[in-house]
Each structure stands twice: as structure tokens, then as C-alpha cells.
Symmetry: C2
Subunit: 220 residues, 2 copies
């Protein structure tokens, strides 16, 4: 997706719609909506600007597709993780927690960027609200499955989800070790149950395996 031959004509590998979306998503996540210009995208793809208009009707069309993909990836991941089977509530929360730490499941920066951009657009706002409702509903159901009373499940789901969004909105820059040290306490805050050593160890192992990626800042 990055190193395309810039030969004129379709001789070399041509860009696909997906390529444009990839670059746009990365740019949106790192530099915000304002930085997503057709020119910038085409330069990153090593391709002419007009190529863009073959794949997309307009810049707005790109953002529509962007929102679609954001929803499909980020929201789906959360829902799937919340619905995963687990013996204890702590284990369930850890499942959701995997979204926060594994870039393959969830892109925090993208989520924040989409949120910041969608605030201006009414149609995007509606979609965003729907996504948030879907996410919290899934987490709420997760708590309910583990026997929490309806409104208790609701508050716990909100605390969990809202706090995580806030964490990314703050965009704290602290080493993974510092974050992990607090994990057991956070878990207990969410579940109301003291996590077992075995559960904490599993979470720590998973986090360490994936979070290294987020400790680097790409200069793009």
C-alpha cells in the first residue's frame, strides 16, 4: 500500500479504494480531519491527485466510507469481545480490555479523531451515537450475563466504556509498565470483585505482547 510504482498509466500496480482508505485512516488518526486533503493522500500514495476522483465521488464521499470502516472495525471489535465467553466477570472485562491494548482490534487514535471530526457533521454524529449505544449495550449485556442487576450493569458498563474513551481523549503518554501496575485496581473498580492472580497474570501477558506497538510514535 505504500510503495507503489508511479509509472504513468496502469502499467504498474494501481491503487485501490482500500489503499486510499488506509492512508486516509492513518492520517485522520494522527493529524486530524483537517490534515486529510486529497493532495496529501495522493502524495503519500505516490500518485496523481485526480486518481482520487476515480475511486471516490468527492472528499465527502471518502469520509462516508471512512466512517463505515471505522464503525465496522472498532465497534465490531468491542461488541465481539464483549460477547466472548468467559467464566468470571473479571475475565470478561479482560476480554474487552484486549481491545484497548491490541491495535489489531481497536485503534484508539482513530476513534478519538473520528469523534472530533464527527462532532461537526450531523449525519456523522448520528452514526457515532449509534455506535456508542451499540458498544455500551454490548458491555452492559456482558455484565448482566454475569448476574449484575440491570441498573448496576448499566452503571458499570458506563464507567468502563466512558473511562476508556476518556483515557484516549486525554492521550496520556506513560510507559506500559506504569499502566499495567494499576490494572488490577482498575479491574476491581469495574467489576467490584478482587481479580485473581491468575487473571491478572493473563491480562499482563496479553498487554505486554501487544502494547509495545503503541509505545512507539510513528513520525508520519
Amino acid at each position: 500500500m505504500t510503495a507503489l510504482a508511479a509509472a504513468p498509466g496502469g502499467g504498474a500496480r494501481a491503487t485501490t479504494r482500500e489503499d486510499w482508505l488506509d492512508v486516509a485512516l492513518a492520517l485522520l488518526a494522527r493529524r486530524g480531519a483537517g490534515a486529510v486533503s486529497v493532495l496529501t493522500l495522493s502524495e503519500r500514495l505516490g500518485v496523481s491527485r485526480s486518481s482520487f476522483y476515480w475511486h471516490f465521488r468527492s472528499r465527502e464521499g471518502l469520509f462516508d466510507a471512512l466512517l463505515e470502516r471505522w464503525d465496522a472495525r472498532n465497534t465490531r471489535s468491542i461488541v465481539r469481545q464483549a460477547e466472548a465467553e468467559a467464566a468470571t466477570i473479571t475475565e470478561s472485562v479482560c476480554n474487552v480490555f484486549r481491545c484497548w491494548v491490541n491495535p489489531a482490534l481497536f485503534s484508539p487514535r482513530l476513534d478519538v479523531a473520528v469523534r472530533a471530526w464527527a462532532r461537526a457533521s450531523d449525519t456523522a454524529r448520528a452514526r457515532l451515537d449509534a455506535a456508542d449505544r451499540e458498544r455500551t449495550a454490548a458491555i452492559e449485556a456482558m455484565f448482566a450475563r454475569h448476574g449484575f442487576a440491570p441498573d448496576d450493569a448499566m452503571v458499570r458498563a458506563r464507567v468502563l466504556y466512558t473511562m476508556q474513551i476518556g483515557y484516549y481523549a486525554l492521550d496520556m503518554r506513560e510507559p506500559i509498565a506504569a499502566r499495567l501496575a494499576l490494572a488490577p485496581r482498575y479491574l476491581e473498580t469495574f467489576t467490584g470483585v478482587k481479580p485473581r492472580d491468575q487473571e491478572v497474570a493473563a491480562l499482563r501477558a496479553y498487554a505486554l505482547a501487544h502494547a509495545a506497538v503503541q509505545d512507539f510514535e510513528d513520525p508520519s
Copy 2:
């Protein structure tokens, strides 16, 4: 600040630096950084665009001043509320809670907008991080004063502050009554102590007195 006579020359009331900042802050909070253009501001003030450059060196200079005022208002409010005297931890948390519900103390939309914008700028980012550290430190100290162990205070401060930021990042639109119904449960999550009826009643009264403002959407 809104109805300025547009008479040529300084004959009528002239705009002040504060006027520009007021309008810019309002616009930033409601439409995001991209919407804050010199032209838009001047139109809202009923004044020529070039007037802007008498008050500010450049558009960037405006944003510097904006950040300054945002910090002075929003951050100061939180710190002051966190440092206010209170008999119980619940009461202390309620004090901070006043920021979230009283527009005179804290502007959530502005906070979110500044956050979204500052992400792109390095200097603004540094300032933002400093503000967040100051806020959480004040809340952490608040918990510590009520006898919480150091790292317990730290986690509780983070849960409280991070969750609130997340709440505004989500920008949930729900009636004040629904929010208030959950307030006691949230309080207990933050403090670990069941709030007394009297404390809940005081919080509810305060919230009802101020939150009506936020139930309206201004069309600007």
C-alpha cells in the same frame, strides 16, 4: 460583545481583544477549530476582517491566547473545587462534580474542542498535558486529604477525572433527570463509600439549578 455598531472609524464602540476571544471560544466549542476563521469571527462581530490583525499578530496568536484563557478558566475551576473544604469524601467529590454541571465553572464543549485541536500542535499539546496533570494532581490530593492511601488516591482520581473527560468526549445527549438518577451510584464508584441521602439531595439540587442550561442547544 455582540451588537457592535459597524460605523467606520472608532466612533462607535470598538471591539476589544476580549470580544474576539469570546466569539472565538464560542465558535471553537461549537464548531471545532476548523470553523474558527478570521472571516467568520469578523462577521460575527459585525466588523472588518483586518481589525483582527490589530488585536492579534496572527491566527496562531489567537489560538495561543485561546489556550491561555481555556487553561485559566477550566483548569482553575477544577483545582479550586478540588481544594475546597469538605467534611466527607463524598462532599469533596460533589464539589468537583459542580464543575461538570455548572457552565460558569467549566465548559465541557470547549474542553473537548481544545483537546481535539491541540492534538495537532506540539506546543499546545505540552500545555494541555500540563493542565491535565495539574487537574488530576489536585483531585488526587483531595482523596489523599480524606485518608486514602497514595496509590488508591491516584487510581480514584484517575477514574473520576478520566471518566468525566470521556463522558464529554462521548457527548451523550440524555435528559438531566436520567443523569441524576445514576449520580449516587457513580458517587459510590468514585469514593467507595455509600453517599448519605443528605449529600445526594444537595448534589441533586445544585445540578438541577444549573444543568438546565445544558439541556438547550444554541443554534449558532
